[in-house]
Symmetry: C2
Subunit: 219 residues, 2 copies
């Protein structure tokens, strides 16, 4: 009985996410679904990405949080359209939540939509919102046992950003272990080591994501 | 319709959690439900707490994770009984999961049961497992905006442990802001600043939790 309910919810979500995806395709919008634990650096990565790419493409951002509009306020300071979704308790974004937020975005003036999910290393991985692909961030302060403990998110993501490398000298986190165990779960996973504090790796990430955007345009 | 389903689940959980609670009361077992984001230091805190208290009381531990038995293995090295619950996808422990694990514990040889929840700053706060109270950990590496973004967990916890204070010189986390905004949500919240790495604050926490155990025994 419980399994049936969960399956129905996931099926219904897939239908709505597909509608979102069709709309994004029609409008030529590239969408990433950015996931990670609370405080892993999602909003900082959004800020860096905007700074690097805003002269090359038209960016909009949807921020998902249980409560507050802290993140949308941070992002809109950079001169891009930012919409805040408050889930009111739900621990992830789903297709319908994004659908409800879309009227707030000028889709005819958007090439790149960044959807920042609720801080959570579990449930966001189960739900599509209609993204091209999922991107996850893991902070080295979270430790190197996360691939084994939260495998679904590593499995569902196309990209893993290992953030806060500036903290490595002060932690016992083994980045090579994270990379090895992540690739065991998902051998195609693209991995970048970054520091949103020092800027390490941000150029590489920005160039890569920019190349993905260009691929879409050429199709 | 959706709200009804959720309410039924929460009501059913309350009944099972109450059964657990009655059993713990009968056996004189003090139970904490330890919550926090992935990598905030829950298992390290469990290890410190065991080392400090294992000569004063009989401790058992239940570890909750999506997958893996990494945490139960870590904890059982300290000579206490540790049971691993794998939730198989679920992002929190509930009353029934703990009930199912109880036959693995010798309840007649236990004074203090530590239940370590799945790493998640959202859903665990909604579910009682029959604990005396909830304890949450927040790592300073997660940043100082968490009370405003994840208020329920701060509201539901009796204790907040602000961990990884050793990393403060390398972050821009404002501990006073965390304390102020946490107390606005929950004025009775007991707060400790700790470092599981350096041991800062561990004595204060251990003495306090030991006093709570003694209070129970005197009842």
């Amino acid at each position: 009985m419980e399994i049936k309910v969960v399956r129905n919810i996931l099926d219904a979500n897939e239908r709505i996410a597909k509608d979102n995806r069709n709309l994004f395709d029609k409008k030529g919008i590239f969408v990433i679904n950015l996931m990670g634990a609370p405080g892993c650096g999602k909003t900082s990565l959004v800020e860096h990405t905007i700074k690097k790419l805003k002269d090359k493409c038209k960016i909009s951002v949807v921020e998902g949080d249980i409560e507050s509009s802290i993140d949308a306020e941070r992002v809109s300071k950079l001169g891009v359209k930012a919409v805040q979704i408050n889930t009111g308790g739900a621990c992830h974004l789903d297709g319908n939540m994004l659908k409800e937020a879309l009227p707030e975005i000028d889709l005819d003036n958007c090439d790149f939509l960044i959807v920042e999910n609720v801080g959570n290393l579990v449930c966001p991985a189960e739900f599509s919102v209609g993204e091209n692909f999922k991107v996850m961030i893991l902070s080295v302060a979270e430790g190197d046992d996360k691939p084994k403990k939260y495998p679904l998110m590593f499995h569902e993501s196309k990209v893993l950003l290992i953030n806060k490398t500036d903290l490595l000298p002060y932690t016992n986190c083994d980045v090579e272990k994270i990379k090895k165990e992540s690739l065991e779960i998902n051998p195609k996973l693209k991995i970048f080591e970054i520091s949103c504090k020092t800027g390490e790796g941000i150029d590489e990430w920005s160039e890569w994501i920019s190349a993905q955007l260009n691929k879409l345009k050429k199709r």
